[in-house]
């Protein structure tokens, strides 16, 4: 588990550790003062988890504030030396990656010739995909070429992965090469 799991007080201290905020705190803002509003402070009871932004290659640190149900706020991680708590517009909105109504939430299948998606179970998807891979592979696998053992499957391609974690890209490369796939490409090319 990550070593920073901040409650709100710690969080304030943390933010206060950056020079700019520190000045404000020291200049007499009363932390205990509660605004007359009946609304609870937005991040009063959130769990804070550090992450790294999923967009460009700068690698800014972001704190994700969650409650039991959802992501309530995202902001720069002041401890991360790359961005020191600052973010651009994309990093700032990380929250909506979770909350967007457009997120896919179920596996979807489109049959040949069909006009629509159908919801399917994960098990069905995994089993069917594995079968398709095997059918294609068995039919087109090349064992030898001009006397050289080549063990390749040139009829399957793997595209993408620049947004995956290292551990995922490692397993993906291992699986695809293991299957004999040669058409392995991702966003670094385009």
């Amino acid at each position: 588990m990550v070593e920073i799991n901040l409650n709100r007080r710690q969080f304030l201290k943390l933010t206060g550790a950056t020079a700019a905020t520190l000045a404000v705190v020291e200049l007499g803002f009363n932390e205990k003062e509660v605004h007359a509003s009946t609304k609870e402070f937005k991040i009063a009871k959130t769990t804070v988890t550090p992450t790294i932004c999923c967009y460009c290659g700068v690698g800014c640190g972001i704190l994700v504030h969650t409650n039991d149900e959802t992501v309530v706020y995202t902001e720069g991680d002041p401890d991360n030396p790359i961005n020191e708590g600052k973010l651009c517009s994309k990093g700032t909105t990380l929250r909506q990656l979770y909350t967007s109504e457009k997120r896919l939430t179920k596996p979807l299948y489109r049959a040949p010739g069909s006009e629509k998606w159908e919801e399917k179970s994960w098990d069905w998807m995994y089993d069917t995909i594995a079968k398709r891979v095997k059918e294609t592979r068995d039919k087109t696998f090349v064992h030898k070429e001009n006397g050289i053992t080549v063990n390749k499957t040139e009829t399957i391609a793997s595209l993408g992965g620049a947004a995956l974690d290292n551990e995922e890209t490692y397993l993906l490369a291992k699986l695809m090469r293991g299957l004999g796939v040669t058409y392995i490409e991702h966003q670094a090319r385009i």
Partner: protein, 276 residues
Amino acid sequence: MATKYVKYVDVTKCDGCRACMVACKNWNDLPAEPQDFLGSMQSHANVTADTWNVLTFVEHENSKGNLDYLFRHSSCFHCTDAACEKVCPENAISYTDKGMVVVDQEVCVGCGYCEQNCPFDVIHLKTYKDENGKEYRKAHKCTMCTDRLDEGLQPACVTTCHTGAMEFGEKDEIISKAEKRVKEIKERYPNAQVYNPQGVGGTHTIYVLAEKPSVYGLPENPKVPTSAVLWKDYAQPIGKAMVGGVAMALAGAFVANKFFDKKNGGQEEDGGGNHE
């Protein structure tokens, strides 16, 4: 008097990333409002009741004949003498102990005088429907993240700004910082200046501008409309002394209508926008 804090916006350090715009929406849970294409990178023509700050984009050929691409974080100025506060017949608009101008939507009746009289056009009404389908309106604008200030945190827009274009701090220090910065950039931006208009008693957002205010669509010398001063500082107290609360509200609405309804030939003075 308590120490005064202000937001500092040095537009010459802004790189136009617009994190301030979304940080505001993210903290304040404001909805997106799709806009028509405006012909530039600017997303909204102006701030609205659901978009409390807008980054403006101006392509400007400067006095040396070079192209400047000018960005400005545009939001409520939190005037020291706020016209919106003066004209509000319901006293729904008030100053916080830190000098920020805030609207109490529980009290607001949606009359719109604040919107009509704001010299910067940064307070706007949002229309809601009640359960019977009846429409009602409330005024909204930047709160300077008063809830965050009360917890010792800076406004969300300032917190996210990566270039140092925005800071939050003690007023006198910020003003001297702004003046120093203007001297530093005079060579590159001969028209650079601090924008902290005195016609509204100074503001709680202090700008360093690279160009004359008008280049950014800002009034050169904004003032609280005389009518608003008359109303708040003379008519309303007299009225209050003369009649009870309920009658006051009614009378207020009547008087305010007469004074402030600019659209129907009311007051016209240097209180508003040459920034359309």
